[in-house]
Symmetry: D2
Subunit: 353 residues, 4 copies
């Protein structure tokens, strides 16, 4: 990591980057008002430190002990904040993504979208390719599900988020969705991470069931190193010995991640607990701990959901929870993203690929 | 579990209890305005259900599938709220217990007591018998430490909490402290649990490193079944694969415990994270999730603490944290216990034993 | 699950299968000397049990509570034993797969192949696509690595095993390797599992870091349900709180898996411990517990391996270990696969796809 | 740690020890044919290294990074082997301890003792104080149970092992038993560890449910530092996310412990699996991995055992298992302790305290 002096010119920065490239490594510059930081990555870490230190306007050359660099707050000290369909992610305002586990039918996803919007959600989630444990379980509606989501989007103006399970699904997904989700089971599917790293669509990256915080940051590094810098990390519970809940919410991970990375960090209280009754408490805790957003399972009729009904909130319970979350957000000097005006969003036309 | 009809007389309740006793089991009555619930405990669960159901004013006889009974919210639907040295525990107000890991010297504990009181704490913690991993580490000051704590108590009016590690220490502890702590490593030291169950002093019971929520409730049942009903449960992090923090705070445990038991539930963000930098976020999360209190390590000079310095807050950081926690408490319709007037408390004279 | 009477004819079996198909479910028949068992799978489990029971030669119709069926020992009571390049897997003889973590160069993989063959190994492992935590680490040689492996195979006669990380790599892999490995991080990459399920090449399926035994069997079910019945399960250590070793070998999983499934179960003591010094003890334990094989990392020069050097055995240590394992195998009435004659194997020509 | 030159005299060793004592630390000498190693322990590690190095016959003064010293193989490179009631523990021969979870009656423990002896066991286990999760479960027979065990001992000649749960039980236990067990839940009950450290009776120390290997060695250090050097470590399964078995046998812990400590290491396959069906496989694995013994639950009538029936073997299954274990022991160049002649052992008269 090379720290430039304040006032270094673009030319001086480029000289440093070229020197790095001459040594068969890659450089990424993070330039802001206070100066520039140049991250250097590559297998062979034997850069000529003395040569670099002697270049004009180089203030310091540091060896980084963390195995991730682009994800590191050392490389990028300020929070990553990026605009997304009319609001921002990673800044002071807290977006709420909500919707059913699976897109089950046209009616169900439209009803869900309208209900979560009415309660105050800012984006719609819904699975069309489902990573189910059993090959005999419902595997998602596929493209027809994406079309239903696009329709729900057109009707409500809510941007849509869906999980991509394989590289082969990627071109189709990019035609329909505003944000891709990488599920917990695919957090270390490096081929998939590289593929989404080559797109420019925001990626919600879920922590694996037994992934450490460092593993999660390394997975993010795969996406970032492809040039896609809009990565949102998601804590969704880890696997422990405790069986009273589906997973154990690692609430510690919120401040730990906020200390180590500049990327936005959100929490999924539905998977993290597995029981609708515990979701509101954990959603409030997440925001109190500093989470930058929530992704929540809401279903118009949880008892008849094809998947994850037990952990899905009814629209009423979701609305009640958001009122509590709003109060907690304000107590920690944040605010929920204000509800959207009802103007429909124009259909996403594959501009992200 | 036997549910009496509303308006059952004391005599009718006693008849039920006697019938239970005649069958070699033990009965505990929980009587309140809406009626009475009689918990029945014992190894042999072959009570004559039909005989009991036929007794006057018996509304229902239920078999309980949970292995704990006195700790269960089914037996005792309303929250347990009990007075403690001028405030209440388990009700709307949230007490803060703070102080150093170990009592190191007279000066250190008095300085700690004054600092945590000034910041708004309601009770003083400090270890005089320390469960240290190494037999060669500082093991605590013992009785002299208790005397220092009593002095700090007299000067500040803060009640004192200290860990008891063995039955042999119990008589001495009862002379000095206002609340006993059972540490995580002793959560299943059943001899010790039985001993404190025979006293009438409040007991702060910490969850073991690999104890499930149910294990914790069973440990509480040991104390309750001795007749001591002032048990406070404490989540302090569990052991998982994650190494970024000392333990993993199981924030889910807060709503799970509040659903299953009537006992107050507090959280120890210091042990649950192991790093001072992460303590405030987790303290806020605990209160947002519904915790009934906090126990926090604060040291006048963390860098020179003989134990747990890395996770101890400075008095300034503690005061800053309490301001945040206060705002979160109000957002969830709770309030911190108001700071104490400075009148000294009279020395505890062993009235609990 | 439908159990046919002994002596049921092929025609009677087909009638049952057709009836299942008419109800929009899928049937798989396991026919052997004692009779036939027909597994029925599908989301909608509302088969007309009475209709099926009334069909000729149907002995019993059972609902199965396990979520896997083709992998279940109930469906397939006898062990799955299948021939593989001159020996058998899943029967009395125990094959040893050995080789380096990564194919690093032509010389290295040929030297490895010759060394492990001389010590008694029966197949060669080597990674050409590597699932590395860091995007900046060596990611494998790709196709050139496969060519080197094919050359090593031609020279030594050892069949070759390599990990496939994505569907895109599959056609190429099928041209070169004799057995595919699905790595722990991809155990729940369901797209990949389905893809290899459509091939007819043996698949070594590694247990995920936090996968339960049931999760592993469900992952196998994905492959089996595609029609590929040559699946070998591999215990390679799970993630726990213990940090003295890289993972915790779940030795219990060996007898548990052998009780629940008919599929062969092997163990990888290299990943399961992470330290060469502990590999021989765990390899002996695996065979004593009933494992059907071992896969072991061996490198001609572990100190200079590009990956996993710390857990790789030298050829000498590997040979010493195999002598111990041989003695243990005989003590439990098994035997190692006898070393191969030196006749070269003809190059695999993609017959598996 | 101070390493003396070969041939150092007792006087020279004593001079070193005195110098250590003058610096307020404690020294323990391990003297054998090759020379002497002096372990130095104490909180304050600021010994005058130069002074010590200058003493006659001091070869080397080493700082030890491990937090345990007396338990360390560095301090005591050769295996600890000690005689116990007619055989040795920690050497080439492998003792088998077997018996019921709880002593239930005179008849039951005598029948158990005779059955396990007939099958080849070398010592009798049986609980008289039981650490039960529920305060309402059977808590053990107490002293009467000890009398029954003594009677079983007199009849069969098998030495007896029982768990001590508190310091208060210690004097009574010492009158009756030949080896004390510290249970998993009390592994970090430091008061109890210190108490048994002051006796001279062999102690079987079980690993806690979430104790690391290092935690276990630190617990042993508590006993050793009291001067009791006959400590036997016992792996009995750890708590993980896997629910197919009661605990997860950490088989890796066997070679890890054998590398780090000189103390004998045995395994309890009954608690480590929780299912009788899996006990033989794990018992064989333990011996193959290098365990120095086994402790196994055997009950004359497991279906009617008051505790742990599901994991108890019948005497027939136990005998069958021992034949397998014997073959595995011989394959790794060990042997089971030969069955005892039937001469009764004289009653233990409290000589250990």
């Amino acid at each position: 990591m090379i720290i430039m002096q304040p006032g270094a010119t673009r030319e001086e920065i480029d000289t440093v980057i070229e020197t790095v490239h001459e040594n068969s490594m890659t450089a990424y510059a993070n330039v802001n008002q206070e100066g520039a930081i140049i991250g250097v990555v590559g297998e062979n870490r034997s850069l000529p430190m003395d040569v670099l230190e002697a270049l004009p306007c180089v203030k310091d050359v540091l060896a980084v002990t963390e195995p991730y660099e682009l994800a590191s707050r050392r490389f990028h000290p300020q929070d990553s904040v990026f605009p997304f369909c009319g609001f921002t992610i990673g800044g002071k305002e807290i977006p709420i993504i909500a919707g059913p586990c699976s897109v089950e039918s046209r009616e169900q996803i439209i009803a869900s979208a309208q209900a979560v919007k009415a309660a105050g959600a800012n984006a719609l989630r819904g699975g069309v390719y489902k990573p189910r444990q059993s090959p005999y379980s419902f595997q998602g509606l596929g493209e027809i599900g994406l079309e239903y989501m696009a329709e729900a989007r057109a009707l409500t103006g809510l941007p849509v988020v869906a999980e991509v399970m394989s590289e082969a699904q990627l071109p189709l997904m990019l035609k329909y969705v505003d944000m891709l989700q990488i599920g917990a089971r695919n957090m270390q599917n490096y081929s998939l991470l590289r593929s989404v790293g080559e797109t420019r669509i925001p990626v919600l990256l879920k922590r694996g069931l037994s992934a450490t915080v460092e593993d999660l940051l390394m997975a993010a590094e795969y996406i970032l190193s492809g040039g896609n810098d809009r990565v949102i990390l998601c804590e969704r519970g880890i696997r422990t010995f405790e069986t009273a809940t589906r997973n154990t919410t690692d609430i510690n991970a919120i401040p730990v991640l906020k200390a180590r990375t500049h990327l936005p960090v959100i929490l999924d209280p539905s998977h993290a607990t597995g029981h609708a009754a515990y979701v509101p408490a954990v959603a409030r805790a997440a925001v109190a701990a500093g989470a930058d957003g929530l992704i929540v399972e809401v279903h118009p009729d949880p008892a008849h959901a094809v998947s994850d009904g037990r952990q899905s909130l009814t629209p009423d319970d979701f609305a009640r929870m958001l009122r509590q979350v709003k109060a907690v957000a304000e107590a920690v000097d944040r605010r929920l993203v204000p509800p959207k005006s009802s103007l429909p969003l124009k259909l996403n036309g594959g501009a992200h690929g």
